[in-house]
């Protein structure tokens, strides 16, 4: 059974394992399988890997190491295939999309910014509701402008009492983003870097 971490450039097929050892789930060494013009980062598993915090961390760490080693289109946790033929067929069927994604995501990581919103109570009137929405939209815009130069892409949503912004930044730009957030009010929380799965 093959566990797939993501897609890399095909020319890295032979060089990656020797030059940049990457460890995956359960300490398995990540290998690269050629699939057309692309390569797939994978490791062998004896059974379906139950998702545990350790395994999810190992999956993310492997993807981040692959970013450092030249770029990856990361898969989310849990892509398992019976054999090489099945895996190659699946990758080659989406080759054009994956190649474009590789170019777009090269050297990038994902960071999540969470800004708490005023929880308040249910709006007391229609006017109160619209004014609250206005404040939320203004906050989102202020955050986007503040982080603007550091962002390569950006998704945002307001849900469960917080503004959640998913940011695509250059791997080296995470520190700049953190510095910019220090002065932002209300004080945001920042998690990451993660593999840029939200932008695949």
């Amino acid at each position: 059974m093959l566990y797939a971490y993501g897609v890399v450039r095909g020319e890295r097929t032979s060089s990656l394992p020797d030059r940049v050892p990457v460890m995956g789930l359960d300490g398995a060494r990540v290998q690269i399988l050629r699939a057309g013009n692309l390569g797939v980062a994978l490791s062998e598993m004896s059974a379906w890997p139950e998702p545990t915090p350790q395994r999810i961390r190992a999956h993310n760490s492997a993807c981040l190491a692959l970013i450092q080693a030249g770029g990856v289109v990361p898969f989310r946790f849990g892509n398992v295939f019976e054999n090489e033929q099945e895996l190659c067929a699946a990758v080659e069927a989406k080759a054009a999309d994956l190649e474009r994604a590789l170019e777009r995501l090269a050297g990038c990581v994902e960071l999540t910014v969470r800004v708490p919103l005023d929880p308040g109570e249910r709006p007391s009137s229609g006017t109160d509701y619209l004014r609250r929405k206005k404040r939320e939209l203004e906050l989102a815009e202020r955050l986007r402008i503040e982080l603007g130069p550091a962002l390569k892409d950006w998704r945002q949503e307001i849900r469960h009492g917080e503004l959640r912004a998913t940011c695509l930044v250059a791997a080296g730009g995470a520190a700049e983003l953190k510095a910019k957030l220090k002065a932002f009010k209300p004080e945001p929380g920042l998690t990451g870097p993660w593999p840029p799965s939200s932008f695949v």
């Binding site: 139950e50 998702p51 699946a90 009137s125 229609g126 006017t127």
Partner: protein, 99 residues
Amino acid sequence: MTNEPVRQDLQLPERINPTPENVEQGLAKLVLSLIEFLRRVLERQAVRRMDAGDLTEEQIERMGLTLMRLEEKVVELAEEFGLSAEDLNIDLGPLGKLL
């Protein structure tokens, strides 16, 4: 968590694929997604018009109340059909997510 292998990243984007068992939920997901999308567009437009001074106080109140109740109704209906907020953010393939 399922113990079945999943390949969500190498499959085509999710399609609306109703079966006799889930036809109501599938239809509700599609309809509520579109309503939520339109509601958000209207909400932004209402905020812009309020800022521009195009609306009387009465119009702001009525518009805000309508949008607030619509938001509550979408959440209520989604829960009835076992759908989460994320379920209403349908994947449009190359165009990305709806919301």
